[in-house]
Amino acid sequence: MDTNNMHPVMKWVEYRLPVFSFLDHSLGTQYPTPKNLNYWWNFGSLAGLVLVIMIASGIVLAMHYTAHVDYAFDSVERIMRDVNYGWLIRYIHMNGGSMFFIVVYIHMFRGLYFGSYQAPRELLWMIGVFILLAMMATAFMGYVLPWGQMSFWGATVITNLFSAIPLVGDSIVTLLWGGFSVDNPTLNRFFSLHYLMPFVIVGLVVVHIWALHVHGSNNPTGIDVKSEQDTIGFHPYFTTKDLFGMGLFMMFFMFFVFYAPNFFGEPDNYIPANPLVTPAHIVPEWYFLPYYAILRAFTGDFLVYQVISLGGLLMDAKLAGVLAMFASILLLLFMPWLDGAKVRSCSFRPIMAMAFWIFVLDCLVLGYIGGKPAEGNFITIGQWATFYYFAHLLVIVPLVSRLERPRQLPDSINASVLKAAE
C-alpha cells in the first residue's frame, strides 16, 4: 500500500499500527487470489457473516434470557412476546444456527470436491474440522437453553453418549450433569459454555484464515498459482463478489426468519421440559441427523460392528456406535493423507468425482434415516449407508486416488480461464 497518498490521520495511525496495510494484505488489493474461483468459494465468507450475526444476536438474547430450569422457558417466551423486537432477534438466532450449518457443510463439500485439503493446506483443512466440532458443541448446548422437551431430551441423550466409555463413563456423565440427571446445574453450565464457545470459534477462524493466507485459496482447477497472470487482487474483485453472495444469502436467510421461522425446529420444543415424559419421537436438529443415523446403525447384529468388535468381544454396540459417530467426523482430519492423488480437483478425476457425488448422496441418505424412527427398513438402509460412509473414506478415496489416471491439466489457471472464455 502506498502510504504517501494516505490521509494524514491514516498515515499517523499506519506508522504506529499498520492496520491499513494489514487489511490490504489480508483482504485488499495486495492479497493475490486465483482469478477462476467460482461461486462455491463464496461460502467461506458467508460462514464468517453468519458467525458475526450469531454472536451479535446471541449477546442480545443473553440480556433477557434466564438460565434457570424454572424460568428458562418463560424467559424465552418473554423475549418472543414482550421484549422489543425480541421475536426478530430470537428467530434470527434460531434460524442462524441452521444457516451456519448449511453454509459450512457446502463449504466443506466444496473443499472435498476440489481437493482443498491437499498439501500444503492440510492444517487449514484440519482447523476447519475443529471449527465444525466447536460449532456442533455450541449448537447442541444452545438448543438446550430454551428448556423445551427436545432441549431436555436432546441433552439427556447426548450426554448419555459418554456413559458408553468403559469404567469411567458414568462418572463422566455425572460430572457433565453436575447432578444425577439433566437439571439446573446442567442448564447453567451449558449457558456459560454456549456463551464461551463462539469466541473459541472466532479464535479458530482467525487461525483458519491465517493458514489460508499462507498459500492462498485453492481454485477449481486445483493447480498452483504459477504467475501473476493467474491471480487478481482480492479487492475489488472478490470483495464485490462476496458481497453479492451475501445479499443472495441474506434473502434466503431472512425468508425463513420472517415466513417460516419454525421450519427447522421441532414442535415439541414449544412444550416446556418435563423430566418424566419423553416425546414420542426424539430427533436432533437436522444438522446432526447423519451422525445420529451412524450412532443408531450400531446394533448387535450389524456386520460392521461384529467385525470391529471381534464378534462383540472388544466392546458393546453402544460404545461402537458412539465411537463410530465421533470417527465419522475425526476421520475427515486425515483426508489429506487418505487422498493420495497428485491432482487436487475432481474436475480432472472423473471416477473420484463420481465417488464424491455418491458420498454426498450417502450423507443425505444418512440425514434422512436419522430423522426416521429406528424401525424396519430404515435400520437396514441406515446400516448400509453407515457402511458406505466409512468405506468411502477408508477404502474408496485411498484406492481411487492412487489408481485413477487424471485428465490432462491446463497449463495454468490463466490458460484455463482463457479456454473457458472461448
Binding site: A56, M63, H64, R78, R81, D82, V83, N84, Y85
Partner: protein, 184 residues
C-alpha cells in the same frame, strides 16, 4: 494530461462517473440498511412491554390517616404518599419559593394540599431519605432527611439544606376518585 478531452476520453470519463455513482449509491444503500438493521439490536434494551405495563400503579388513599405516610413501589422505586396535617401545609405554603435552592411553591408540587405524592429518591445520589415512618429522623425542616450525605427536605419535599441539587421529584399522577390515585 491534456486540457481538452478527445471524444474517446470523454466517454471514458462519462463511464467513470457512472461507475462512481453506482458504487457510491450501493454503498449508501448498504450503509442505510445496516443502520436500520442495528435498531432492533439497540431497541431491545428499552423497557419491554411487560415492564411498561407495570409503569402505572393505582393506590387507595383510604387507610392513610392524617399525619401518616406510606411508601408504595412504582417502577421499582419508592413513592412517598403523605397525608399532611394542616400545620405541615401551612409550613410549606409559608416558605418564600425564591429563597430556595430549587425554587418551587407548594402549589407547584401538589394537586390537593393534603396529599403530597413524590418519588422518595434523594436527588443527590439516589439514597432513600428517612422520615416516612413514624420515629425516623425528619431533618431540620420537619420533612425528610437523607442519611447518606445529609440532605434535608421540608414538608413539601423541597431541598433546604445539604448537597442535593433538586427537590424530591413529583411523579405524574391523577386522582381517579377522592381517595384513589393513579401514579404514572
Amino acid at each position: 494530461m491534456s486540457e481538452t478531452a478527445t471524444p474517446e476520453q470523454g466517454a471514458e470519463i462519462d463511464d467513470q462517473s457512472k461507475r462512481d455513482f453506482l458504487f457510491i449509491s450501493t454503498a449508501a444503500v448498504g450503509a442505510v440498511g445496516t443502520a436500520i438493521a442495528a435498531w432492533p439490536f439497540i431497541d431491545q434494551m428499552n423497557p419491554a412491554a411487560d415492564t411498561l405495563a407495570l409503569s402505572t400503579t393505582e393506590v387507595s388513599l383510604e387507610p392513610i390517616e392524617e399525619g401518616q405516610s406510606i411508601t408504595v413501589v412504582w417502577r421499582g422505586k419508592p413513592v412517598f404518599i403523605r397525608h399532611r396535617t394542616a400545620e405541615e401545609i401551612a409550613d410549606a405554603v409559608a416558605v418564600q419559593a425564591n429563597d430556595l435552592i430549587d425554587p418551587q411553591t407548594d402549589a407547584d408540587r401538589v394537586q390537593k394540599p393534603e396529599w403530597l405524592i413524590m418519588v422518595g429518591v434523594c436527588t443527590h445520589l439516589g439514597c432513600i431519605p428517612l422520615g416516612n415512618k413514624a420515629g425516623e429522623s425528619r431533618g431540620d425542616f420537619g420533612g425528610w432527611f437523607c442519611p447518606c450525605h445529609g440532605s434535608h427536605y421540608d414538608t413539601s419535599g423541597r431541598i433546604r439544606k445539604g448537597p442535593a441539587p433538586k427537590n424530591l421529584p413529583v411523579p405524574e399522577y391523577s386522582f381517579l376518585s377522592d381517595l384513589k390515585v393513579k401514579i404514572g
